[in-house]
């Protein structure tokens, strides 16, 4: 697992209070991990802070699963 993926999972576990085993690539924040819309906003903000990037709203809307978050951050973080 990439360093980014490890960090993303740790943030999700911390913010949503879920078990690490639940944080699979396919898991949806809202459907599987119990997040509401504000939780999702907070997650995006945490990703921005952790990886020091700014995620535009229109792109944030497409990050609905753990895997989508990891892929997005692997492609955009640190550039």
């Amino acid at each position: 697992m990439s360093e980014i993926a490890t960090k993303v999972k740790a943030i999700i576990v911390e913010k949503l209070g879920v078990e690490e085993s639940e944080v699979t690539p396919e898991a949806s924040f809202t459907n599987d991990l119990g997040a509401d819309s504000l939780d999702t906003v907070e997650l995006i903000m945490e990703f921005e802070k952790e990886f020091n990037i700014s995620i535009p709203d229109d792109q944030a809307e497409n990050i609905g699963t753990v895997g989508q978050a990891i892929t997005y951050l692997e492609e955009n973080a640190g550039k």
Partner: protein, 417 residues
Amino acid sequence: MTLRRVVVTGLGALTPIGNDVPTYWDNLAAGTSGAGPITKFDASKFKTQFACELKGLDVTQYIPRQDARKMDPFTHYALIAADQAVRDSGLNLDTINKNKVGVIWGSGIGGLKSFEEEVINYAQGDGTPRLNPFFIVRMIADSAPGQISMRYGFRGPNYVTVSACASSLNAMIDAFNYIRLGRINICVTGGSEAAVTRAGVGGFNANRALSERNDSPETASRPYDKDRDGFVLGEGAGALILEEYEHAKARGAKIYAELIGGGMSSDAYHITAPHPDGLGAYLGMQDAMDDAGIKPEDIDYINTHGTSTPIGDPQELKAIEKIFGEHAFRMNISSTKSQIGHLLGAAGAVEAIACLFALERQIVPPTINHFTADPEIDPRFNLTLNQAQPRKMTTVMSNGFGFGGHNASVIFRKLSE
């Protein structure tokens, strides 16, 4: 129209001298001080370095961590106290009509810590606003009754009253009125405050309200003592279940007392100082007496606002003398703020619960920390100094006055057997 009768059927309390009602009551009787050095932040640069903090409270024992982090401490306290009160009431949540259960709460400030932390966080950044999506909902004062309603499904009127240190008495009076008017049957009422923060202590220091007796926190809150130098900031929550009398009787509920009157007034005078003749305090108490339809000599005990400030304490006594005349010297008076400090918006609720302690145990809780008589205060008042006093009581009053000149008083009476 005939107004319905309203009784108290459940209590909950988180106070600096006990995290539940029995412990709070035992310590009230013992004259325990809840003051000590501030542990919630580094107060070494503050004029006042002590407060009446809650002790040994593990919020996650009551509220799941994931929910707790979306709430300010004042909402944690509200939920915990309300939970105690709902359990204490013995209400069957499966059978009562929850659409007729309100939650009317008081908080003078709301989520001060949440506001403070978020703004500091923003100010330390580069100016890019990265505010937490839960910031506003943690901060707003109405989140406390909102959270209580969500926990139990109570769908009656739900809001918070804000009148500084009279807030939870105003909430209680609103709850009282809705029940006696027949609009609801039950109301969770009370108040909570969590202002022992940098902004809270610094702010009250700046307007010179707080005691600065750092060398002796336990004796700093000394209402009516000649050397009182301000109030001691407290935190916590008090919750009461108010219920329509027939409803309570029909289910065989334990009834602590009947709430028989609520009075409100305004000083219309100054942003912080009380009216010099205690005019607003007088009007509020008189309004409560008129509402209850009782005579001055019926009152056995008054739990005063008595914050331990040089100006406030004698003015309240002046107002009491004006209403009660000679009886002012026959009743018992005490300020339990000497023990628990000043819980601001929660003060009215926790002090009402001190009044119910007095009725329940027939003991007047003491005004502790009295060392030197103040020549400005008539020695004929029985201020219940330093020691609890046993007394046969049926009717008691609690006062709360807030910055801005808001005054509220409530009167409880023991139900006759």
